[in-house]
């Protein structure tokens, strides 16, 4: 080592090559701050909170739409909203994270610092997830506060469970979005692919599965596992099962699952959802570490 390489300020230039929490935290903080300063964050937060509040009001006592009011009813109303909005938020914003930064040169600037790709990836993931968590919790918070003010806190447990399931779905979708982002060549392609995957998971997957089931006389067990393989469906089933007394509302597949799995049904579905949280983001991390054209 040459003496000229020594820093003028006496600080050591040698850094451990392993990932360090401080670097991950710095990147995550910056992503979170960027999100809070951006229009999309407030647009999503306002849209989700507004719709959640409207649904909560619709489920309150005296409402012509719903008879008795409770957290459970509000939570049930939020399930449909969540299964549409949360995947769209997570997928599109996750997909933009890496692809957009690569295209603008920001990723190159970031990686020219003494940070490794693991630190960069998890910093981006955590920052994006934290921002979206804040946006979605604002929605659930608005609905929860409205319901508590008007009708007390009965069945608050199911509301909290659904909030946590929605969070798991959000993290899964951000991970899936980031996987798309690491695979796409351009930001526009990443965004387009994210919207396509959203359509597939929320609408086309369900319709396709129904069509396949009819055409191929799919067995009930195969239909159940094909259904819960879709993270959006896994969320819906786990959410409905968390406050329904019977699984009849889940149809024949749900009835089969309740018979076959009994009390293990919800844990099985939640485990599938957690696999969706961990698997896409892990694959995305691997892809980001090995991708050459950054």
């Amino acid at each position: 080592m040459t003496t000229e390489a020594l820093p003028r300020n006496g600080r050591s230039l040698d850094l451990p090559e392993r990932a360090q929490r401080s670097s991950v935290a710095a990147i995550a903080r910056k992503e979170l701050r960027d999100a809070i300063h951006s229009r999309w964050f407030w647009m999503w937060t306002a849209a989700f909170a507004g719709l959640a509040a409207v649904l909560a009001i619709a489920a309150l006592p005296g409402s012509r739409i719903a008879g008795s009011a409770s957290y459970g009813r509000t939570a049930a109303s939020l399930v449909t909203l969540t299964q549409i909005i949360i995947p769209l938020m997570g997928l599109t914003l996750g997909a933009q994270t890496i692809a957009f930064q690569r295209e603008s040169g920001a990723l190159r600037f970031l990686l020219s610092h003494p940070v490794n790709r693991t630190e960069a990836f998890w910093g981006l993931y955590l920052g994006t997830s934290a921002a979206l968590t804040a946006a979605s919790f604002a929605g659930f918070g608005a609905a929860g506060i409205l319901t508590a003010l008007r009708s007390g806190s009965g069945e608050a447990g199911s509301f909290v469970r659904i909030t946590l399931l929605a969070w798991a779905l959000l993290l899964a979708m951000v991970g899936l979005g980031m996987l798309i982002s690491t695979l796409a060549r351009r930001a526009a392609a990443a965004l387009g692919s994210a919207v396509f995957v959203w359509l597939l998971l929320v609408f086309l997957g369900d319709l396709g599965l129904m069509g396949t089931a009819v055409a191929t006389r799919l067995s009930v067990s195969a239909l159940f596992f094909s259904t819960v393989a879709n993270p959006v469906e896994a969320f819906r089933l786990a959410a409905l099962a968390s406050f329904a007394d019977s699984f009849d509302i889940l149809g024949p597949a749900g009835t089969y699952a309740a018979d076959a799995l009994g009390s293990a049904l919800v844990p099985v579905i939640v485990t599938i959802l957690l696999v969706w949280v961990a698997a896409p983001v892990s694959i995305a991390w691997f892809r980001f570490r090995t991708r050459q054209d950054l």
Partner: protein
């Protein structure tokens, strides 16, 4: 300080760098010069670990492949343009860069002062001129006081005034004894900035020499576009051809092909023929 051996980079069937080798001594300033696509920026990206490569790169004795973080901690990198982070304030960009480098915030205040960014500290990056963006990029690169500076086409997006200012800054850094590796396709500024030029073409080194010798070594030509007072293009063409130059007229004046280091000879030939030059441009 920088040691590169057998550096090869392929994108599918395309070989962008072909067994490239380079040594840069501590305190030396070296330019990688060449046309677009010569492989200059790819060398920088390999050093920073942004792309995979064959061969070895050592910075300050450390292998860039296995000690990437330690290597990048010794490098201040200035990109062509700070066109991203447009919504961030000047101070926020520097604070972020400082956090990634583990540098205390005092250092940010110090650099804001020394790079005369005080009155712009709250401005968003998008509001800065090209010259100010370059100053900001350089301040960010110098946060950890790195011994090596990598400058990728540092003046290519600047206007004449900002370019002059940037060159002055780079000269100052060079005098501080930092090792500088810069890429450029501008020949005229290299003499002021570097000790040595490495000319590249198609991923290979064509020649290495002092900046003043490059044009002659490569036999580089430029075009002078001359506008003469009162026209007289025919007389000018005759005078230039007699003096051994290749020239042709266009609607606005005449174009003369000259050696990059011998532009004055063509002007002398016109002067001897009694022609008065009204305007002059150099086309490269």
């Amino acid at each position: 300080m920088i040691r590169i051996r057998d550096l090869t980079k392929r994108y599918g069937p395309l070989t962008v760098l072909d067994r490239f080798a380079l040594d840069v001594r501590p305190g030396e300033a070296v330019a990688l010069w060449g046309p677009n696509g010569a492989g200059k920026t790819t060398v920088v990206r390999c050093i920073l670990g942004l792309v995979d490569y064959e061969g070895t790169i050592e910075i300050d004795g450390l292998d860039a492949r296995t000690r990437g973080k330690a290597v990048r901690n010794r490098i201040g990198y200035v990109a062509q343009e700070l066109s991203f982070y447009d919504d961030m304030a000047v101070t926020d960009v520097l604070d972020y860069s400082a956090a990634l480098r583990g540098v205390p915030t005092d250092r940010v205040r110090e650099l804001i002062g020394s790079f005369r960014l005080d009155e712009h500290r709250s401005k968003r990056v998008a509001e800065l001129s090209g010259g100010l963006k370059q100053r900001l990029a350089l301040a960010a690169a110098l946060l950890s006081d790195p011994p090596v500076l990598l400058l990728d086409e540092p003046t290519s997006n600047l206007d004449a005034h900002s370019r002059e200012e940037a060159i002055e800054l780079f000269e100052h850094l060079r005098l501080q004894g930092r090792t500088i590796l810069l890429t450029t396709h501008h020949m005229e500024e290299m003499g002021m900035l570097v000790d040595r030029v490495v000319a590249m073409e198609d991923g290979r080194i064509v020649t290495e020499c002092a900046p003043g010798e490059l044009a002659e070594r490569l036999g580089l030509k430029v075009w002078l576009h001359v506008t003469l007072r009162g026209g007289h293009n025919t007389r000018a063409l005759e005078a230039l051809e007699t003096a051994g130059f290749t020239a042709r007229a266009n609607a606005a004046g005449i174009l003369v092909e000259v050696s990059a280091q011998r532009k004055g000879q063509a002007l002398n030939a016109l002067h001897r023929a009694g022609l008065e030059i009204e305007d002059l441009e150099v086309w490269t």
